[in-house]
Amino acid sequence: MSNINRRLRSEKIAKILMQISGISITGSLFLIIGIILYKGLPYISWEMISQSPQGGFYIGKGGGIFNAILGSLYLAGLSTVLATIVGIPIALYLNMYVKKGSFLEKSSKLLFDVLFGIPSIVYGAIAFSIMVWLGIRASLLGGVITITLLTIPIVVRTLDELLKTIPIDLKNVTKSLGATTWETAKVLLKYIKPGIFTAILLAFGRAIGDVAGVLLTTGFSDNLPKYIDEPAATLPLAIFFQLSSPIPEVQGRAYASALVLTLIILIIVICTHILASKQKKHKI
């Protein structure tokens, strides 16, 4: 027992190390947001977010990034809608119609997990070459298709996790009243309603922030997006382009655009959090 002091001391050191790592990891989040706020705030203005680029925008003259904000919202909105339309039936099918523990169920879920990890640049590359092959130029439509593929796994996996938490009794009661599987599924959907919005928001957040997939497929344009077969600007890409400019004003706009994107993401995260806690309380 003579070395008990040494052992306790090493426990203390380990604990301090753990606290330091915890603080540095959480600190990195505040560092990122703090730096973007600090750099972006001096440049943000109403003109920035309400106007499209005007002549000489990229050498520091007037205009704003409204085209990119709108483009991003269109792109993320459309692809999230598509991904939800495709994703909800798939998640329901895997949980309601397929036998639990069957090969189909397990392998599909595994595959969606894996698809979730595939980087967007790969989706972008394949979509780009398909578009070249079909003779479609870079456009909002190309971006929407790419980002939809990217977000389907998110919707499916999130909903699947939710559907798993539904008490089996609810399913059995509904079925014993004579409901078909499809009618039962509708009841379950009502049960996980806040969770569905969580999944949608997660997909939206991923869609609005993605660059690599959009870079190759959506192109860039100074005009407000009007038609789906035309190139459209997106916010992350606007940040990326402006930041690589040597002119300080343009770089400043990149910081301001980054601030706008950060705010959008933070709003999404906060809504997700609220909805998730609502799901916990939400019972029929």
Binding site: L92, I118, V122, T180, I208, V211, L243
Partner: protein, 295 residues
């Protein structure tokens, strides 16, 4: 009644076909990439593509070694930084922290996970790059612009924090209390129990989390591209610029059309990424699923 059954079977068949279509995307991607990459593989053999150092598409030299090494450098640096930090922090959250602390830290990790890559890139350019050129490099008597594999590694490390922490926390939670209690009752301190029982038992899960993070790091494109310098040479030190594979694809897609085999080479790069990441993901997901079933 018939109508209701009809509706049911329509819903069933519709959702089944959606499932099949969306899963066949995987097959489609593989076939598409392989077809597009095949001209390169026909004219140069695989081994020399992977080991050649010279990248000059105009002269027909497609050596991928600089890019492979660039990717390995940044991934390796990010792991050196993030693995110990994440293991320590996750252990603290599960074993020591109060419920309240845990419940306030884990949502913050979700925020970190939700930040888009381009914002990490902006942060890298504004903070990490100057930090390296003005503070870290002078310590080693090196002069650099800061755009280096080290910068890429640091940015990536922060990007993979959330995925590692959240999976490690889940894994550590599955360790049965009886095991810990047995060790504690034999007189081991808490830290000794963590070292010799908890972490040992959690090893497969922790490895799975790391593999998952590695595959995330491999595929990360824009954030790394913004801070890495992008010079197609094999990096020799922490402060050299690097050129990871995803950055290669992103930077050159527009201009590849006019040069023969260039598009095949970029498609080969995408195929390489896809195969590696697919494999890594598959392995770690299988490990994690198995752990979940046993828990």
């Amino acid at each position: 009644m018939k109508l209701r059954l009809l509706k049911d079977s329509i819903a069933k068949n519709l959702s089944r076909s959606l499932l099949i279509i969306s899963l066949s995307v995987v097959v489609l991607i593989i076939i598409g990439l392989a077809l597009k990459a095949s001209p390169l593989l026909d004219s140069v053999n695989l081994f020399s593509i992977l080991t050649e150092k010279v990248w000059s598409p105009q002269k027909g030299n497609f050596g991928f070694l600089p890019f492979i090494m660039g990717t390995l450098w940044v991934t390796f640096i990010s792991l050196i930084i993030s693995v110990p930090l994440c293991i320590l922090a996750a252990t603290y959250l599960v074993e020591y922290a109060s419920d309240r602390l845990r419940k306030s830290v884990l949502p913050l990790m979700n925020v970190l996970a939700a930040i888009p890559p381009v914002l990490y890139g902006v942060w890298g350019v504004l903070f990490v790059v100057p930090l390296i050129s003005e503070w870290i490099a002078p310590i080693f008597n090196v002069s650099t612009t800061g755009y280096s594999v080290l910068a890429g590694g640091i940015v990536l490390a922060v990007m993979i924090f959330p995925i590692m922490i959240s999976i490690m926390v889940e894994v550590l939670k599955t360790i049965p209390n009886e095991l810990k209690a047995a060790s504690l009752s034999l007189g081991a301190t808490k830290w000794e129990t963590i070292q010799k029982v908890v972490l040992r038992k959690a090893k497969p899960g922790i490895i799975a989390a790391i593999v998952l993070a590695v595959s995330r790091a491999f595929g990360e494109t824009v954030a790394v591209l913004m801070v890495c310098g992008n010079i197609p040479k094999v990096p020799q030190s922490l402060f050299d610029a690097g050129y990871p594979i995803p950055a290669l694809i992103a930077n050159n897609f527009g201009e590849m059309m006019s040069i023969p085999l260039y598009d095949a080479a970029l498609m080969f790069a995408a195929l390489l990424l896809f195969v590696i990441i697919f494999g890594f993901n598959l392995i770690s997901r299988i490990i994690l699923n198995r752990l979940e079933e046993h828990a």
